[in-house]
Every structure is written in C-alpha cells, then in structure tokens.
C-alpha cells in the first residue's frame, strides 16, 4: 500500500536514507557481477577448473551447463539491481526537485495576503478585497504541482521496483501491463504510420514511467528494435526476447541429434545386409528422411548456439568496465545484432561501427564486439575524453564472400534506410546531442553501407571514418552530408581492397588525395575525394590479412581512431 505524499510529508522529507538504499543496490550489483565473473572463470577455458581438460563426460557437461545458468541468473539479477539503484536515484532527484519547488512557493508567500495551514492549504485574506483569492489560487496550484511531481516519481519508483526487483505479484504485473494497453496500441499506430525516431522518442518521453514499464513488460517485441526508444529500455526488451527465444528450443535438442546420428550410422553400417535382403527401399527412404531431419536439427542447433554465444557475450561487464547493451537481434539466416559497449544515451562520445563482408550474428558477439571493446578502451585513454560508447551495428545482411558478392551495391542499398533510422534514433535518445561527438566508422563493405546511407538519407553523425573502403558510392566526401573536414579515411599499404577501390565500381577511393607521388594532380577535373586520411600499418605481408589488421596489436590506426572518436581528429597522423 502506498502512503500518499502530503504537503507536510514532502516538506519534512529527508532523502538521505533513500540515497543510501540506492547505494546498497549498486553495491549489490557490483557484488553479483563479481560473482558472475568468478564463476565464468571456472569454465572459461579447457584448462579451467571445470574445463574439459579436467573433467569430461555427462556430469561435467551438466556442471558446466549449471554454471552457465548460474552466471546468467547472477547477471540478470545484477542488471536488475543496477536498474533498481538507478530508478531510486532518479526518484530521489525528482523528490528533491519537488521539495525544492514546494519550498520555493512557501518562501514566496506573502503572509499578509494569505495564510498557510500546516496541511498546505492557502487561505486568502478576503477582508481587503478579492485580489488575494486569485493570489491564493495561484499558490495552491503550484503546491499541488509540486505534490503531483513527487507522487508521479513515487509511482514510477514503485513500478520500477515492482518490475526489476520482482516485488510485484502476478496480478500487479498484469495490472501494470493492462494500464499501459492503450499506450501500446497508440505506439503501434505510430509505427504503422511510419513515425520518425524523433517522433517516437518525443512520444515515449511523454509517457509516465509506469506506462513505459507496462509496455516493456507486456510487449517487449514492440520496442526492442524501435529507433527512438532509449537504450536501457531496448536492452531490457531484447534480453527478455532473447531469453524467451532460447527457452523455446527443445531441451533434448542435442540428444535428438545424437539419436538421429546413431540411427543413420546403424542403417549405413548394415547397408550391405539391407541390400542383400533384396528390399532396401524402405531403409533408403528412412535414411533420406533421417538425413533431412539431421540437417534441420543441426541448423536449429547452430542458431541456438549463436544465440547462446550472444547471451554469454553480453553478460557481465565489458573489458573497459562499461555495461553491454543489446539494442536488437535477429536469428534468421546469418543473423543480425546491435550490441553496445557502454550506453550511447549517456556517453560523451558515441561510435557506431559497421562491419563489412562476412559480418553476422557470430561476429557481433565475437570478433566485431572485441574490436568495439578495443576502440572503447583506446578512446577512454585520451585525456579528458570522458566515456566513449562503441556500438556494433550489424543490422544488415552483409555479403558473405568478398569475391562472390561484395561488389554488389544491393546489400548497401538495403542497409541504407535502417542505418539512417538508427542514427536518428541515437541522436534523439542521447541526453546531450549537442555536446556528444558521434562517429560512424565502417570497415570494408561497411563503409559502402555508410556512404550509401549518408548520401541517400543523411546520417545524424558528426564524423565519418572509412577503414579499408572499396568505395562509398560517392565521388567526394562533400556528398556524404557532413563537412568534408569531418571525414577520415585510411587504407593500409598492401591491403587487397586497393584493387576494388581503384576500380571505382563502388565510387571513388576515399583515400585518394588527388595527388600523384610526384606531387602533381592526378587529373584536370579531379582534386581528390576530400576530407582527411590517417596512417594505418600493414602489420604483415598477406594482402588478405592486411585487410583485417586495423584493430591488430600495435597498429597506429588504433591510436588515430581513438583521437578522432574523441574529437581530436586534428591530432591524428
């Protein structure tokens, strides 16, 4: 039962205790997170205490599965504790604001014109005319507004604790969802009408916290991939969907595959006898059916394993100490995902990394995510840079093979609108877009995607960085919708991509300065792509390996990118 916030309660309230509670929840988050890290260490490698080198067989598998479940449970609770702590801190801020509003009114009151009761009622002195009545009404209205502000914060806090600390009963949870049903319908209408991310964000910000949580609890799929919804909320929605999707896989999937494999082996092992029996038709038909079933089950297992890898990859903290945020995922075909290292809504610098050929769900939770962490750490070491959030935007169908289909523009054309929408969404959810430095960085075909999106739709970004670009569908940086001075490109000597870039099939080479080795212009009407170039090292001699070496151990490209991402591009070499 909630105690109503009255005038006297708000006037006397001391929020120090509540602030201490928020700190306790944050400490709980840290403790749970540390425990999860310790448990991960038990099975992280084959040589770990519970690793395959030390323990094999069904019991060991069960133990490792159990550890994984424990880690995920700890991670989920750690995340919930963090959200409760943040919710309390936000509520305290609101309560203090409401208290300050109230105190301001009280301090202003002219006691010769009105009387203020202990309950907060304002009584006008009507003995000297009616002016004091309207004066009293104005004061009452301001007192009511302050009390209302506190009540709304209290309601939001109750809902947040109910959801994240799971103190709500099922009926309370359903009540929260029911209360937000109209808003969920309204949001669906907005989506159907093609509302922009800015409009979605504006609408979302107009909801009460209880309504937002009601939508999140009732229909996470509605907001999981919706540009304009704040990162923290999208993350909660996507994690919820991911867990639900994994729960739908049969717990006997691995055993089912083993059973089918065993039956296939049995038939194949007896095949000469079956043929000798004179009627192999039935067995041949069964074998064909079993092989089809095996292929389907193995596909299912591969997808499940990719999702498990994603869930594992975003549990705990990043190497930089930042949180992971899952802003979207899709398990269909090669799979897609948008994963952030750090919260782009609150970071000082935001980097959106668009991988190139071969990018998929596996990469977004593996190699590309590792690159994102490297970029985040490098940027964090630039003095005075604040926090840099780095996102892997793998929300498009990337070409699978460079020689087979990378030169086709169709992949970039399909990715163009989603990337533009995503960037607009980030701009709208950022708490201070004027101060935040946003950079979109692409690698290889990812730069083609960026070029297509920037030239076709415009991208809400301050800077664009092209790493090992085969072309960005344009001839000059000025066509990318940003000041060419905010465009940076690099391609290492010996990179295989030089051939593609020089062919011009996907646009001009972004590293082409328009100047020959002898200092002369390369063409009469051509003064280069424009913008800036920066150094990167080949780090090897294999042209294919060079193409992937930009985030390698000691490549100077890392330092240069860190400088650019933190707004120090002039210092890049």
């Amino acid at each position: 039962m909630t105690v109503p916030i009255t005038y006297s309660l708000l006037r006397k309230a001391d929020f120090a205790a509540l602030e201490a509670v928020a700190e306790t929840w944050m400490n709980l988050y840290a403790t749970l997170d540390d425990q999860a890290v310790s448990l991960v260490g038990l099975k992280s490698k084959d040589d770990s205490a519970f690793g395959t080198d030390h323990w094999e067989g069904p019991s060991s598998e069960a133990a490792r599965d159990k550890i994984r479940d424990l880690v995920l449970a700890l991670d989920e609770r750690a995340s919930a504790a963090r959200r409760v702590s943040v919710a309390i801190a936000v509520a305290v801020e609101e309560f203090k604001g409401a208290q300050a509003d109230l105190n301001e009114v009280v301090a202003e009151i002219d006691r010769e014109r009105v009387a203020l009761t202990e309950a907060g009622s304002v009584i006008p002195d009507t003995s000297r005319g009616t002016d004091n009545v309207s004066y009293a009404e104005g004061l009452s209205s301001r007192i009511s507004a302050a009390l209302e502000r506190a009540a709304e914060a209290d309601e939001a806090l109750k809902a947040a604790i109910g959801v994240w600390a799971e103190t709500f009963s099922e009926s309370e949870r359903l009540g929260l969802v029911h209360e937000a049903a109209d808003e969920a319908d309204e949001l669906q209408d907005l989506i159907d009408a093609g509302a922009s991310p800015e409009r979605i964000n504006e609408w979302w910000n107009g909801l009460s916290e209880a309504e937002r949580l009601g939508i999140l609890e009732g229909d996470p799929a509605l907001i999981a991939g919706l540009d304009g919804v704040p990162t923290d909320t999208r993350d909660a929605a996507n994690r919820s969907l991911l867990e639900a999707e994994l729960d739908r896989y049969s717990p006997t999937l691995d055993q089912d595959i083993a059973d089918v494999q065993e039956r296939i082996a049995e038939i194949e092992g007896n095949w000469s006898e079956i043929v000798a029996s004179g009627d192999p038709g039935e067995s041949a038909e069964e074998l064909e059916h079993l092989r089809d079933r095996l292929a389907a089950l193995e596909d299912e297992r591969a997808t499940r394993d990719e999702l498990v890898n994603l869930q594992d990859a975003i549990s705990g903290q990043a190497r930089t100490g930042q949180e992971y945020f899952l802003l979207g995922y899709d398990s269909a075909e090669d799979g897609k995902a948008i994963v952030a290292v750090g919260n782009p809504d609150t970071a000082d610098n935001t980097v959106v990394y668009v991988p190139g050929t071969g990018g998929d769900l596996d990469g977004a939770s593996g190699n590309d995510l590792a690159r994102a962490e490297t970029m985040a750490l490098d940027a964090s070491q630039v003095p005075g840079s604040g926090e840099t959030a780095v996102l892997v935007w793998m929300d498009y169908d990337a070409p699978n093979h460079p020689l087979a289909n990378s030169p086709s523009l169709s992949y970039a054309e399909d990715a163009s609108a989603p990337l533009a929408s995503f960037m607009s969404g980030l701009e709208s959810t950022n708490r201070d877009p004027e101060e935040n430095t946003t950079t979109v960085v692409g690698h290889s075909y990812g730069t083609t995607v960026i070029g297509q999106a920037a030239s076709e739709h415009g991208l809400a970004t301050d800077q664009i960085v092209a790493v090992a670009s085969p072309g960005m569908t344009v001839d000059q940086a000025s066509e990318l919708g940003i000041d060419p001075e905010d465009f940076y490109a690099t391609t290492a000597p010996g990179d295989i991509i030089h051939a593609a870039a020089e062919s011009g099939r996907l646009g001009a080479d972004p590293t082409d300065t328009g100047v020959n080795w002898d200092g002369r212009q390369t063409g009469v009407d051509w003064d280069g792509f424009g913008g800036n170039t920066f150094d990167s090292d080949a780090m090897g001699s294999d042209p294919i390996e060079i193409h992937s070496n930009y985030w390698d151990a000691n490549n100077p490209a890392r330092i240069n990118m860190a400088l650019i991402f933190t707004g120090n591009g002039k210092e890049a070499t």
Binding site: D47, A370, E373, T374, L377, Q381, A553, L563, N568, T573
Partner: protein, 198 residues
C-alpha cells in the same frame, strides 16, 4: 614502421604472465617510475584461424599526463633500455606536432611492448599475436600498484604469486637450456622469472 611478429613458442597459458613480465622488465629501466593507474586486458584480431591475440594495457597515473618524464624522457630511456635487454626496438612514430609518440620493442620470445603518448597520457601495451589458445590463461597481480577496482582482467584469471610461482617457473622456460633468472616485480608481485640468454 612495425614489423611482423615472430612465431610464438608458448601458448595462452603463459601469455599473460609473459606479457606482465615484459612490462616488469620495461619499468625496471624507468627512472622515477610513478606506478600505474589501471590494468586492462584486451582480445585482439588474429588473422590465423584457431589462434588468438591479446594485450595487457597499463595506463600511467593522471598526475603524469603531459609531464616531461613520460612524454619525452621515457622514450629515450626505453630506447636504450630495451636495446640493452637484447630486444628489437622498432615502431618509432611521431605525433602531428613532430614529437615522438610511439616506440615499441619485441622480446626474443615474441612479446611486443608498445609505449605510447596519447595527448600526454602514457600507456604501455604488452601484446602477444596469434597465440595458440591452449592452457589456462593465468595472470599475476597487477604491476605498479594498480588497485583491484582498477584491474580489469576479463581474459585471464588472476592468481597470487604463491599460487602460480612454481608452475610459472616451469611454464615459462621454453628454451631448453636457458636458465630462468629471478627478477623483482614492482607493485607487490614477489617473484617471477625472467628469461635470459646469458
């Protein structure tokens, strides 16, 4: 210019100990060493299928940002110190103003150490490229007085010297007839081994 790193003779089980060891040998040569503020491990790109690259990244304390000690003196000191250890010095680069900003050295066992000045912030990166992912990735306590809350080691399991000293001594002596010599590590790490050629 950087160089291609040599084939490694150790696996992941030794990689972090070796990287920390290389950093310890590096800071031994630094006069007025101010300690470190943070230690962070990173997993990096390796183009070789089935192999992994890692880095240990040590950041110098804030009060050293922009000081002559870390932005000038240490470059010349390290150049001589690394060479005296028999390491191959390389990767010297200048910043946009023409001041030296990066220098690297590779130990005979393939561990690369990179000292960089990022707008006045000094950082030491120790790196192993494309190591075989065999073995439990153990690392010792951080060097240079890094406090536990500033020690981010997601890629290795921190073990106290007592837990790992014996196995470490054996584990990091890949060159059959080379004696492992004890060396003191600053920042609380009591004893590890240094690989010497003499």
């Amino acid at each position: 210019m950087s160089q291609e790193l040599p084939e490694l003779e150790f696996d992941l089980g030794e990689a972090f100990i070796r990287m920390d060891e290389a950093v310890a040998e590096t800071i031994e040569g630094l006069p007025d060493f101010p300690g470190f503020q943070t230690r962070t491990t990173l997993k990096l790109d390796c183009p070789v299928e089935g192999r992994e690259s890692y880095e240990i990244n040590y950041k110098f304390p804030e009060h050293t940002i922009g000081s002559d000690l870390v932005t000038r003196e240490y470059f010349s000191v390290l150049k001589a110190h690394w060479a005296s250890l028999g390491w191959e010095v390389h990767g010297e680069r200048d910043d946009a103003d023409g001041n030296i900003s990066d220098i690297q050295a590779t130990r005979p066992d393939g561990v690369n150490v990179w000292y960089s000045n990022l707008l006045g912030q000094a950082i030491i990166h120790a790196q192993v490229a494309c190591v075989s992912p065999e073995g439990e990735p153990v690392c010792g306590p951080p060097l240079g007085g890094v406090t536990p809350e500033n020690d981010s080691t997601k890629d290795c399991i921190v073990k106290e010297p007592e837990e790992s000293a014996t196995e470490t001594t054996d584990a990091i002596a890949p060159f059959g007839d080379v004696q492992a010599a004890p060396v003191s590590f600053p920042g609380g790490w009591g004893r590890v081994t240094r690989l010497g050629t003499s």
